[in-house]
Protein backbone atom coordinates (compact mmCIF):
# COMPACT_ATOMS: atom_id res chain seq x y z
CA UNK A 1 0.00 0.00 0.00
CA UNK A 2 1.25 3.45 -0.93
CA UNK A 3 1.58 6.17 1.70
CA UNK A 4 0.62 9.50 0.16
CA UNK A 5 1.22 11.49 3.33
CA UNK A 6 -2.52 11.92 3.89
CA UNK A 7 -5.54 9.70 3.82
CA UNK A 8 -9.27 9.40 4.40
CA UNK A 9 -10.44 11.29 7.47
CA UNK A 10 -13.32 10.46 9.81
CA UNK A 11 -16.77 11.85 9.15
CA UNK A 12 -18.71 13.78 11.77
CA UNK A 13 -22.02 12.90 10.15
CA UNK A 14 -24.36 11.17 12.52
CA UNK A 15 -26.10 8.26 10.88
CA UNK A 16 -29.55 7.64 12.30
CA UNK A 17 -29.63 4.32 10.50
CA UNK A 18 -27.24 3.04 13.15
CA UNK A 19 -29.64 3.82 15.97
CA UNK A 20 -30.13 0.78 18.19
CA UNK A 21 -33.86 0.68 18.61
CA UNK A 22 -33.94 -2.38 20.86
CA UNK A 23 -31.47 -0.97 23.33
CA UNK A 24 -33.36 2.29 23.41
CA UNK A 25 -36.62 0.48 24.09
CA UNK A 26 -34.87 -1.31 26.92
CA UNK A 27 -33.96 2.07 28.38
CA UNK A 28 -37.44 3.46 27.82
CA UNK A 29 -38.85 0.43 29.58
CA UNK A 30 -37.12 1.30 32.85
CA UNK A 31 -37.20 5.09 32.36
CA UNK A 32 -39.99 6.11 29.98
CA UNK A 33 -39.28 9.79 30.50
CA UNK A 34 -36.27 9.58 28.19
CA UNK A 35 -38.80 10.07 25.43
CA UNK A 36 -40.13 13.40 26.62
CA UNK A 37 -36.95 15.48 26.81
CA UNK A 38 -37.35 18.69 24.80
CA UNK A 39 -33.60 19.41 24.66
CA UNK A 40 -34.13 22.74 26.41
CA UNK A 41 -30.80 22.53 28.22
CA UNK A 42 -32.01 23.49 31.70
CA UNK A 43 -30.28 20.44 33.17
CA UNK A 44 -26.98 21.35 31.57
CA UNK A 45 -27.29 24.98 32.60
CA UNK A 46 -27.34 24.10 36.32
CA UNK A 47 -25.13 21.02 36.20
CA UNK A 48 -22.55 21.05 39.00
CA UNK A 49 -20.17 18.73 37.20
CA UNK A 50 -20.73 20.57 33.91
CA UNK A 51 -19.01 23.58 35.33
CA UNK A 52 -15.70 21.77 35.47
CA UNK A 53 -16.04 18.88 33.05
CA UNK A 54 -17.82 18.15 29.81
CA UNK A 55 -20.97 16.85 31.42
CA UNK A 56 -24.38 17.35 29.90
CA UNK A 57 -27.50 15.27 30.30
CA UNK A 58 -29.11 17.08 27.41
CA UNK A 59 -26.25 16.09 25.14
CA UNK A 60 -26.18 12.56 26.50
CA UNK A 61 -29.83 12.03 25.59
CA UNK A 62 -29.15 13.46 22.14
CA UNK A 63 -26.13 11.21 21.73
CA UNK A 64 -28.19 8.13 22.48
CA UNK A 65 -30.82 9.14 19.97
CA UNK A 66 -28.12 9.95 17.42
CA UNK A 67 -26.61 6.49 17.70
CA UNK A 68 -23.58 7.57 19.75
CA UNK A 69 -24.12 5.82 23.11
CA UNK A 70 -20.41 5.75 23.94
CA UNK A 71 -20.42 9.55 23.83
CA UNK A 72 -23.46 9.59 26.08
CA UNK A 73 -21.66 7.58 28.73
CA UNK A 74 -18.67 9.88 28.42
CA UNK A 75 -20.98 12.86 28.89
CA UNK A 76 -22.29 11.44 32.16
CA UNK A 77 -19.11 10.04 33.63
CA UNK A 78 -18.43 12.96 35.94
CA UNK A 79 -22.02 13.22 37.17
CA UNK A 80 -22.23 13.18 41.00
CA UNK A 81 -25.98 12.52 41.03
CA UNK A 82 -26.51 15.74 42.97
CA UNK A 83 -29.96 16.05 41.46
CA UNK A 84 -30.03 19.75 40.67
CA UNK A 85 -31.15 18.90 37.17
CA UNK A 86 -34.27 17.17 38.42
CA UNK A 87 -35.28 20.39 40.17
CA UNK A 88 -35.19 22.44 36.98
CA UNK A 89 -36.47 20.06 34.32
CA UNK A 90 -39.62 21.68 32.87
CA UNK A 91 -40.94 18.27 31.92
CA UNK A 92 -40.43 16.91 35.42
CA UNK A 93 -38.14 14.12 34.34
CA UNK A 94 -36.59 12.09 37.13
CA UNK A 95 -33.17 12.90 35.78
CA UNK A 96 -31.18 10.99 38.38
CA UNK A 97 -33.03 7.84 37.60
CA UNK A 98 -32.59 8.55 33.91
CA UNK A 99 -28.84 8.96 34.30
CA UNK A 100 -28.56 5.75 36.28
CA UNK A 101 -30.70 3.95 33.73
CA UNK A 102 -28.63 5.15 30.79
CA UNK A 103 -25.47 4.00 32.49
CA UNK A 104 -27.00 0.66 33.35
CA UNK A 105 -28.39 -0.10 29.90
CA UNK A 106 -25.56 1.20 27.76
CA UNK A 107 -22.63 0.09 29.90
CA UNK A 108 -23.81 -3.50 29.68
CA UNK A 109 -21.97 -5.27 26.89
Amino acid sequence: MVDFGFGLVPSSRMNLDLFDKEKYEELAEIEPDVRICMACGSCTAVCTAGKYTRTSLREAIEDIKNAKPEKALEMLRACQLCGKCSMVCPRGINTRHLILSITKVYSAK
Partner: protein
Protein backbone atom coordinates in the same frame (compact mmCIF):
# COMPACT_ATOMS: atom_id res chain seq x y z
CA UNK B 1 -83.70 44.27 6.34
CA UNK B 2 -83.16 41.92 3.50
CA UNK B 3 -79.81 43.20 2.19
CA UNK B 4 -77.99 40.99 -0.25
CA UNK B 5 -74.59 39.81 0.93
CA UNK B 6 -72.23 38.01 -1.41
CA UNK B 7 -69.74 35.64 0.15
CA UNK B 8 -66.87 34.49 -2.01
CA UNK B 9 -65.48 31.11 -1.03
CA UNK B 10 -67.23 28.05 0.35
CA UNK B 11 -64.56 26.95 2.78
CA UNK B 12 -64.93 27.09 6.56
CA UNK B 13 -64.80 30.91 6.70
CA UNK B 14 -67.41 31.38 3.99
CA UNK B 15 -69.68 28.68 5.37
CA UNK B 16 -69.58 29.95 8.92
CA UNK B 17 -70.09 33.60 7.92
CA UNK B 18 -72.99 32.55 5.67
CA UNK B 19 -74.65 30.68 8.49
CA UNK B 20 -74.30 33.59 10.91
CA UNK B 21 -75.56 36.21 8.47
CA UNK B 22 -78.42 34.01 7.30
CA UNK B 23 -79.50 33.66 10.93
CA UNK B 24 -79.42 37.44 11.29
CA UNK B 25 -81.95 37.65 8.49
CA UNK B 26 -79.81 38.71 5.57
CA UNK B 27 -80.10 37.38 2.08
CA UNK B 28 -76.84 35.48 1.68
CA UNK B 29 -75.41 34.36 -1.63
CA UNK B 30 -72.41 32.03 -1.33
CA UNK B 31 -70.28 31.14 -4.32
CA UNK B 32 -67.67 28.41 -4.50
CA UNK B 33 -65.42 27.69 -7.46
CA UNK B 34 -65.23 23.94 -6.78
CA UNK B 35 -68.05 21.46 -7.12
CA UNK B 36 -67.96 20.67 -3.42
CA UNK B 37 -68.00 22.87 -0.35
CA UNK B 38 -65.40 22.89 2.37
CA UNK B 39 -62.18 23.91 0.66
CA UNK B 40 -59.16 22.17 2.17
CA UNK B 41 -61.29 20.91 5.03
CA UNK B 42 -63.13 18.63 2.60
CA UNK B 43 -59.85 16.96 1.76
CA UNK B 44 -58.63 16.52 5.32
CA UNK B 45 -59.20 13.42 7.40
CA UNK B 46 -58.88 14.44 11.02
CA UNK B 47 -58.11 17.69 12.80
CA UNK B 48 -55.66 18.68 15.48
CA UNK B 49 -55.50 18.86 18.41
CA UNK B 50 -58.08 16.22 19.37
CA UNK B 51 -58.48 14.31 16.14
CA UNK B 52 -62.12 15.04 15.34
CA UNK B 53 -63.03 13.91 11.83
CA UNK B 54 -62.96 16.80 9.38
CA UNK B 55 -66.18 15.44 7.84
CA UNK B 56 -68.06 16.00 11.07
CA UNK B 57 -66.94 19.58 11.38
CA UNK B 58 -67.66 20.25 7.74
CA UNK B 59 -71.13 18.74 7.75
CA UNK B 60 -71.91 20.85 10.83
CA UNK B 61 -70.81 23.94 8.96
CA UNK B 62 -72.78 23.05 5.86
CA UNK B 63 -75.81 22.21 7.94
CA UNK B 64 -75.82 25.76 9.31
CA UNK B 65 -76.08 27.28 5.86
CA UNK B 66 -79.64 26.19 5.23
CA UNK B 67 -81.45 28.92 3.34
CA UNK B 68 -78.30 30.39 1.89
CA UNK B 69 -78.32 30.73 -1.89
CA UNK B 70 -75.49 28.56 -2.87
CA UNK B 71 -73.73 28.37 -6.21
CA UNK B 72 -70.95 25.87 -6.63
CA UNK B 73 -68.62 25.76 -9.63
CA UNK B 74 -69.18 29.47 -9.83
CA UNK B 75 -66.71 32.30 -9.97
CA UNK B 76 -66.87 36.02 -10.50
CA UNK B 77 -66.82 37.31 -14.03
CA UNK B 78 -67.00 41.02 -13.26
CA UNK B 79 -67.51 43.18 -10.24
CA UNK B 80 -68.29 46.89 -10.13
CA UNK B 81 -68.68 49.14 -7.20
CA UNK B 82 -71.72 51.32 -7.57
CA UNK B 83 -72.34 54.23 -5.23
CA UNK B 84 -72.81 51.97 -2.21
CA UNK B 85 -73.29 48.46 -3.46
CA UNK B 86 -71.45 45.97 -5.61
CA UNK B 87 -72.79 44.78 -8.91
CA UNK B 88 -71.43 41.31 -9.44
CA UNK B 89 -71.73 39.19 -12.55
CA UNK B 90 -71.19 35.51 -11.90
CA UNK B 91 -69.93 32.91 -14.33
CA UNK B 92 -73.26 31.08 -14.11
CA UNK B 93 -74.92 34.08 -15.80
CA UNK B 94 -76.55 35.46 -12.67
CA UNK B 95 -76.00 39.06 -11.63
CA UNK B 96 -76.15 39.98 -7.97
CA UNK B 97 -76.53 43.44 -6.52
CA UNK B 98 -74.82 43.05 -3.19
CA UNK B 99 -74.71 45.55 -0.33
CA UNK B 100 -71.77 43.88 1.28
CA UNK B 101 -69.19 41.44 -0.01
CA UNK B 102 -67.12 39.06 2.07
CA UNK B 103 -63.99 37.60 0.59
CA UNK B 104 -63.27 34.24 2.17
CA UNK B 105 -61.03 32.94 -0.54
CA UNK B 106 -58.75 31.01 1.81
CA UNK B 107 -55.31 29.76 0.88
CA UNK B 108 -53.55 27.48 -1.56
CA UNK B 109 -51.30 24.75 -0.33
CA UNK B 110 -47.67 25.48 -1.23
CA UNK B 111 -46.72 23.57 -4.35
CA UNK B 112 -44.02 21.33 -2.90
CA UNK B 113 -42.51 20.75 -6.37
CA UNK B 114 -41.02 24.22 -6.02
CA UNK B 115 -38.86 23.10 -3.12
CA UNK B 116 -36.76 21.27 -5.67
CA UNK B 117 -34.20 19.80 -3.30
CA UNK B 118 -36.88 17.74 -1.55
CA UNK B 119 -37.75 15.98 -4.80
CA UNK B 120 -41.55 16.00 -4.56
CA UNK B 121 -42.81 14.76 -7.91
CA UNK B 122 -39.37 13.27 -8.61
CA UNK B 123 -38.62 10.82 -5.82
CA UNK B 124 -41.30 8.17 -5.54
CA UNK B 125 -41.69 8.14 -1.79
CA UNK B 126 -41.87 11.85 -1.08
CA UNK B 127 -45.43 12.94 -0.33
CA UNK B 128 -47.10 15.99 1.20
CA UNK B 129 -49.28 16.50 4.26
CA UNK B 130 -52.29 16.70 1.91
CA UNK B 131 -51.35 13.39 0.26
CA UNK B 132 -51.15 11.79 3.68
CA UNK B 133 -54.59 13.10 4.65
CA UNK B 134 -55.96 11.70 1.40
CA UNK B 135 -54.36 8.38 2.28
CA UNK B 136 -55.97 8.40 5.74
CA UNK B 137 -59.29 9.22 4.13
CA UNK B 138 -59.19 6.78 1.24
CA UNK B 139 -56.88 4.15 2.65
CA UNK B 140 -54.66 3.75 -0.37
CA UNK B 141 -51.60 5.35 -1.88
CA UNK B 142 -49.10 3.20 -3.74
CA UNK B 143 -46.25 5.34 -2.41
CA UNK B 144 -47.07 4.24 1.13
CA UNK B 145 -46.13 0.61 1.45
CA UNK B 146 -45.52 -0.48 5.03
CA UNK B 147 -42.86 2.13 5.73
CA UNK B 148 -40.47 1.33 8.56
CA UNK B 149 -39.06 4.83 8.85
CA UNK B 150 -41.06 7.93 8.23
CA UNK B 151 -39.84 11.50 8.28
CA UNK B 152 -41.83 14.69 8.55
CA UNK B 153 -40.29 17.85 7.17
CA UNK B 154 -41.60 21.04 8.74
CA UNK B 155 -41.53 24.44 7.05
CA UNK B 156 -41.89 23.42 3.39
CA UNK B 157 -42.74 26.65 1.67
CA UNK B 158 -42.85 28.46 4.99
CA UNK B 159 -40.15 30.60 6.53
CA UNK B 160 -38.28 30.21 3.30
CA UNK B 161 -37.34 33.26 1.29
CA UNK B 162 -35.80 31.09 -1.35
CA UNK B 163 -39.28 29.84 -2.17
CA UNK B 164 -40.63 33.37 -1.81
CA UNK B 165 -42.46 32.54 1.43
CA UNK B 166 -41.13 34.34 4.44
CA UNK B 167 -44.03 33.81 6.80
CA UNK B 168 -44.82 30.94 9.14
CA UNK B 169 -47.86 28.93 8.08
CA UNK B 170 -48.88 28.39 11.68
CA UNK B 171 -50.68 25.07 11.31
CA UNK B 172 -47.92 22.82 10.01
CA UNK B 173 -46.17 22.08 13.31
CA UNK B 174 -49.38 20.89 14.92
CA UNK B 175 -50.38 19.06 11.74
CA UNK B 176 -47.02 17.29 11.64
CA UNK B 177 -47.34 16.18 15.24
CA UNK B 178 -50.88 15.00 14.62
CA UNK B 179 -49.92 13.13 11.46
CA UNK B 180 -46.85 11.64 13.15
CA UNK B 181 -49.15 10.13 15.76
CA UNK B 182 -51.60 8.89 13.16
CA UNK B 183 -48.95 7.35 11.00
CA UNK B 184 -47.57 5.61 14.05
CA UNK B 185 -51.07 4.28 14.73
CA UNK B 186 -51.21 2.95 11.18
CA UNK B 187 -47.70 1.49 11.30
CA UNK B 188 -46.90 0.75 14.95
CA UNK B 189 -43.47 -0.71 14.14
CA UNK B 190 -42.31 2.36 12.27
CA UNK B 191 -39.82 4.89 13.58
CA UNK B 192 -41.10 8.41 13.09
CA UNK B 193 -38.99 11.58 12.93
CA UNK B 194 -39.98 15.24 12.79
CA UNK B 195 -37.43 17.74 11.49
CA UNK B 196 -38.22 21.22 12.71
CA UNK B 197 -36.59 24.62 13.22
CA UNK B 198 -38.86 25.77 16.02
CA UNK B 199 -41.88 23.88 17.25
CA UNK B 200 -44.65 26.42 17.12
CA UNK B 201 -47.27 24.68 19.21
CA UNK B 202 -48.99 27.78 20.47
CA UNK B 203 -52.64 26.76 20.73
CA UNK B 204 -54.62 25.18 23.47
CA UNK B 205 -53.83 21.46 23.80
CA UNK B 206 -51.16 21.63 21.12
CA UNK B 207 -48.36 21.18 23.61
CA UNK B 208 -50.23 18.20 25.02
CA UNK B 209 -50.25 16.73 21.56
CA UNK B 210 -46.49 17.17 21.35
CA UNK B 211 -45.98 15.51 24.72
CA UNK B 212 -48.26 12.67 23.68
CA UNK B 213 -46.32 12.17 20.45
CA UNK B 214 -43.08 11.86 22.39
CA UNK B 215 -44.33 9.89 25.34
CA UNK B 216 -46.88 7.51 23.91
CA UNK B 217 -45.73 7.24 20.32
CA UNK B 218 -41.97 7.66 20.60
CA UNK B 219 -41.82 10.24 17.85
CA UNK B 220 -38.32 11.67 17.58
CA UNK B 221 -38.06 15.43 17.19
CA UNK B 222 -34.88 16.74 15.61
CA UNK B 223 -34.14 20.42 15.56
CA UNK B 224 -32.72 21.06 12.13
CA UNK B 225 -34.18 21.89 8.79
CA UNK B 226 -33.88 19.22 6.13
CA UNK B 227 -31.33 20.44 3.61
CA UNK B 228 -31.74 17.92 0.83
CA UNK B 229 -33.27 14.63 -0.10
CA UNK B 230 -32.02 12.04 -2.53
CA UNK B 231 -32.97 8.52 -3.59
CA UNK B 232 -31.17 5.25 -3.01
CA UNK B 233 -31.05 2.49 -5.56
CA UNK B 234 -33.86 0.66 -3.71
CA UNK B 235 -36.08 3.74 -3.78
CA UNK B 236 -35.57 4.61 -0.13
CA UNK B 237 -34.69 8.20 0.63
CA UNK B 238 -31.59 9.74 2.13
CA UNK B 239 -32.20 12.93 4.02
CA UNK B 240 -29.58 15.34 5.30
CA UNK B 241 -29.97 17.88 8.05
CA UNK B 242 -27.95 19.33 10.85
CA UNK B 243 -28.99 18.38 14.34
CA UNK B 244 -28.54 21.96 15.48
CA UNK B 245 -28.80 20.95 19.12
CA UNK B 246 -25.80 18.67 18.67
CA UNK B 247 -24.15 20.97 16.08
CA UNK B 248 -23.47 17.99 13.83
CA UNK B 249 -24.61 17.06 10.35
CA UNK B 250 -26.72 13.95 10.18
CA UNK B 251 -28.20 11.64 7.64
CA UNK B 252 -30.97 9.12 7.80
CA UNK B 253 -32.64 6.69 5.46
CA UNK B 254 -36.41 6.95 5.20
CA UNK B 255 -39.03 4.82 3.53
CA UNK B 256 -41.46 7.70 3.39
CA UNK B 257 -41.01 11.43 3.67
CA UNK B 258 -43.92 13.76 4.35
CA UNK B 259 -43.48 17.41 3.41
CA UNK B 260 -45.49 19.85 5.47
CA UNK B 261 -46.56 22.15 2.69
CA UNK B 262 -47.44 25.54 4.04
CA UNK B 263 -50.09 28.08 3.17
CA UNK B 264 -49.81 30.41 0.22
CA UNK B 265 -52.17 33.18 -0.82
CA UNK B 266 -55.01 31.79 -2.92
CA UNK B 267 -54.47 32.32 -6.63
CA UNK B 268 -58.18 32.47 -7.40
CA UNK B 269 -58.68 34.82 -4.46
CA UNK B 270 -55.99 37.04 -5.93
CA UNK B 271 -57.94 37.11 -9.21
CA UNK B 272 -61.01 38.40 -7.35
CA UNK B 273 -58.83 40.95 -5.60
CA UNK B 274 -57.48 42.12 -8.95
CA UNK B 275 -61.01 42.79 -10.19
CA UNK B 276 -61.51 45.04 -7.19
CA UNK B 277 -58.00 46.48 -7.28
CA UNK B 278 -57.53 45.36 -3.71
CA UNK B 279 -54.18 45.83 -2.07
CA UNK B 280 -52.12 42.82 -1.14
CA UNK B 281 -49.21 43.03 1.24
CA UNK B 282 -45.66 41.93 0.46
CA UNK B 283 -46.51 38.42 1.63
CA UNK B 284 -49.24 38.17 -1.01
CA UNK B 285 -52.19 38.11 1.39
CA UNK B 286 -54.89 40.77 1.33
CA UNK B 287 -54.35 43.85 3.46
CA UNK B 288 -56.95 44.70 6.07
CA UNK B 289 -57.91 48.32 6.38
CA UNK B 290 -55.30 49.32 8.90
CA UNK B 291 -53.50 47.79 11.79
CA UNK B 292 -54.45 45.11 14.20
CA UNK B 293 -57.76 46.69 15.26
CA UNK B 294 -59.15 46.79 11.73
CA UNK B 295 -60.80 43.43 12.15
CA UNK B 296 -62.41 42.16 8.99
CA UNK B 297 -62.71 45.42 7.08
CA UNK B 298 -60.86 45.78 3.82
CA UNK B 299 -59.74 49.19 2.58
CA UNK B 300 -62.91 49.34 0.42
CA UNK B 301 -66.23 50.21 2.13
CA UNK B 302 -68.63 47.29 2.20
CA UNK B 303 -65.93 44.81 1.41
CA UNK B 304 -64.90 42.41 4.17
CA UNK B 305 -62.31 39.72 4.63
CA UNK B 306 -62.28 36.53 6.68
CA UNK B 307 -60.11 33.47 7.15
CA UNK B 308 -56.82 32.72 5.47
CA UNK B 309 -57.38 35.39 2.84
CA UNK B 310 -55.53 37.67 5.25
CA UNK B 311 -52.79 35.22 6.24
CA UNK B 312 -52.32 31.73 7.62
CA UNK B 313 -54.85 30.74 10.26
CA UNK B 314 -55.94 27.67 12.15
CA UNK B 315 -59.48 26.40 11.77
CA UNK B 316 -60.73 27.85 15.08
CA UNK B 317 -59.17 31.19 14.16
CA UNK B 318 -60.82 31.07 10.78
CA UNK B 319 -64.22 30.36 12.31
CA UNK B 320 -63.76 33.16 14.83
CA UNK B 321 -62.81 35.40 11.94
CA UNK B 322 -65.99 34.46 10.10
CA UNK B 323 -68.16 35.22 13.11
CA UNK B 324 -66.41 38.53 13.59
CA UNK B 325 -66.98 39.33 9.94
CA UNK B 326 -70.70 38.60 10.35
CA UNK B 327 -70.89 41.00 13.28
CA UNK B 328 -69.02 43.71 11.37
CA UNK B 329 -71.09 43.27 8.25
CA UNK B 330 -74.22 43.53 10.33
CA UNK B 331 -72.92 46.69 11.95
CA UNK B 332 -72.11 48.19 8.57
CA UNK B 333 -75.46 47.29 7.09
CA UNK B 334 -77.40 48.66 10.04
CA UNK B 335 -75.36 51.72 11.04
CA UNK B 336 -73.75 53.04 7.88
CA UNK B 337 -75.39 51.65 4.80
CA UNK B 338 -79.04 52.74 5.38
CA UNK B 339 -78.21 56.40 5.94
CA UNK B 340 -78.19 57.45 2.31
CA UNK B 341 -77.67 61.15 2.99
CA UNK B 342 -74.72 60.79 5.31
CA UNK B 343 -73.26 57.60 3.83
CA UNK B 344 -70.01 59.10 2.66
CA UNK B 345 -69.35 60.88 5.90
CA UNK B 346 -70.17 57.82 7.96
CA UNK B 347 -67.82 55.75 5.88
CA UNK B 348 -65.10 58.28 6.52
CA UNK B 349 -65.73 58.23 10.24
CA UNK B 350 -66.52 54.63 10.92
CA UNK B 351 -65.11 52.46 8.14
Amino acid sequence: MKNNILIIGGGPAGLEASAQLQRMGYNVILIEKDSVLGGHLAKWDRLFPDGVPADEVLSGLIHGTEGVKLFTETEIRAINRLEKSYNVRLTNGITVLSDAVLIASGFDLFNAVKKEEYGYGIYDRVITNADLEAYFKNGSDKRIDHPKRIGFVHCVGSRDEKSGCRSCSKVCCATAVKQAIEVKESFPDAEVFCFYMDLRLFGRHYEDLYLKAQKEYGVRFIRGRVAEVSENIDGSLVIKAEDTVASKPLKATMDLLVLMSGMRPSVSGKAVGDLLEMTVEEDGYFAVRSGIAAGQRSPLPGLFLAGAATGPKTLPETLADARAAAVEIDRYLTEIFPDARNYKQLVRERW
